[in-house]
Subunit: 318 residues, 2 copies
């Protein structure tokens, strides 16, 4: 069975949306990413850290999914990373009300021996310094290194982030962050710039507008499923990255054509995450639901344009 | 040859973008829509009005495309509709600096006899009162009536607009206007509400994020081509509506499956319009360029997801 190592945060989140408040619930990039990846036929291993206040019930959730937690450090005398955020009316903007790094502040991961030869390394959102440390502790280069990052690291740790970029194959980033990172104002120009920074693939996540996969020569546009209601967008990007890696490790094919399918797999899983608070829905998807939704994505963009010139005005220059 | 009647504005536009200023150039919804539709093998007929200040050279542009201008009224003693607008940094927001309705203010169109039995009627952006008047002057109901409208009419002439809605088959509207019209905050919920107002098809235009075609049962997601540079978005929506109608009239097939192709055709032509100021690019597209770009749209969303359950974790409930 192929292996994915995921390094990222595990958190207590408290989320406010126009639909209500979540209370203090399980969150964090490594949580969403590993839960999503674990829907595939792969061995998922996480590297993260929590405090002594972290609920044993939550640890059970990882174990139930056969997620390897050898690399999960529990610092008894410290507190788990805590984030309290609020989404505004249309769910496109969010405010961070409280961000208590706590145990994450001095996180210096030690990669377990059994983790050192993964097929895929997913660097979920975390400090580039931690990400570099993990890359350097591996015994051999994974087949694929995927990086997810955010505006905070672009603004505060750009030099270290650029160093990470030299080591990765795939960057997933949202549209606003792509503009910030590249200084460009169209996604295509932004992707071109970012592809010069190191990664072979750049995936720009546009939330409800889908995602774009870029190489230097090619582009793929993955739709998002238009939903009646977006309940809570938290973790959608992390779910996407986890689903992408889970699919790719299982199929063990890193071509552009298969990356496209990975983007669809990630988008499909993310479309479930946003249907409920936190990981509520992501914890309880059935295989048949995933397969059915993949079918919806296929239908959503399918068209059959007639192959004929006869539809055009004959007087126009060829 | 099938016939499309287009009623809409013809304007002098003056456009400012971060790329520069256009000067006073040809614009207006009927202009973009008719130029786009005329790329197809159809007879396009326009209903509009201009002032005595309207350049004969511009009238030539319509004639060159074999666009019937019997329904173009020239009011010698009045001035052509004038719009001066400015796009902000990211091209997503625009400000109207000057809007002089001039000759449009009292526009009361008389539909020529030769226009009264079109295959498609395109009600391009204009007052709903004018749109209703045109519908009522026709001898028989067209196979398809397409309406494009904007926030201004939703806010100022909602009652008359609702009356137009009862007579149309297809509404094209942008995402912000769909939210405004429906009072909903997801596009899917907005489309559901709008479909109850009359039209059988609703097309929500999302600019650089593509377009969504909704019926009560089905959805189609058409991508937008990611461009290196959006030079001037003016007229993209009008071009879209014109391309849609041009394609549909030529193929004479108003099924959901063919509407999808119409949405692609409209998106393809709109992707040219935004490449230069005003109608500069839209005036000079070659058939081969259109065919080539249709190919790019097909490639952009094509993927081939494996039909197997073997990729999923066997421990998850089916």
């Amino acid at each position: 069975m192929r292996q994915i190592v995921i390094v990222g945060s595990i958190a207590y989140d408290e989320i406010e949306t126009p639909h209500g408040r979540s209370g203090k619930i399980l969150g964090g990039a490594a949580t969403y990413s590993s839960f999503a990846a674990a829907y595939f036929d792969v061995q998922v291993k996480i590297i993260s850290v929590v405090g002594g206040d972290f609920k044993p019930d939550y640890i059970e959730l990882f174990k139930q999914r056969n997620i390897d937690i050898t690399g999960l450090e529990i610092k008894k005398d410290e507190k788990t990373f805590y984030w309290h955020g609020k989404y505004l009316e249309n769910m496109n903007k969010r405010q961070s009300l409280i961000t208590d790094l706590n145990v994450l502040e001095k996180f210096d991961p030690v990669v377990p021996e059994s983790y050192k030869e993964p097929d895929i390394l997913l660097l979920a959102n975390l400090s580039p310094i931690v990400q570099l440390s993990v890359i350097r502790q591996l015994k051999r280069r994974p087949k694929l290194i995927v990086l997810d990052t955010m505006d905070f690291w672009i603004m505060t740790k750009l030099e270290e982030l650029m160093e990470v970029f030299k080591n990765i194959d795939v960057l997933t980033i949202n549209d606003q962050e792509a503009f910030l990172l590249s200084g460009q104002n169209t996604l295509r120009a932004a992707a071109s710039k970012i592809l010069e920074m190191g990664p072979q693939y750049v995936i720009i996540k546009k939330g409800e507008h889908g995602a774009l996969l870029f190489t230097k020569e090619k582009i793929f546009f993955a739709p998002a499923l238009p939903l009646y209601q977006v309940f809570d967008p938290t973790g959608a990007g992390d779910t996407f990255a986890g689903g992408l890696c889970g699919y790719l490790a299982t199929t063990d094919n890193y071509s552009f054509e298969n990356l496209k399918n990975g983007v669809i797999a990630g988008s499909v899983l993310a479309s479930f995450t946003v249907e409920d608070f936190g990981t509520n829905k992501l914890q309880n998807i059935k295989t048949n639901e995933i397969i059915s939704r993949i079918g919806e994505f296929i239908e959503l963009v399918k068209f059959n344009f007639p192959k004929t010139n006869k539809i055009f005005n004959k007087k126009i220059q060829q």
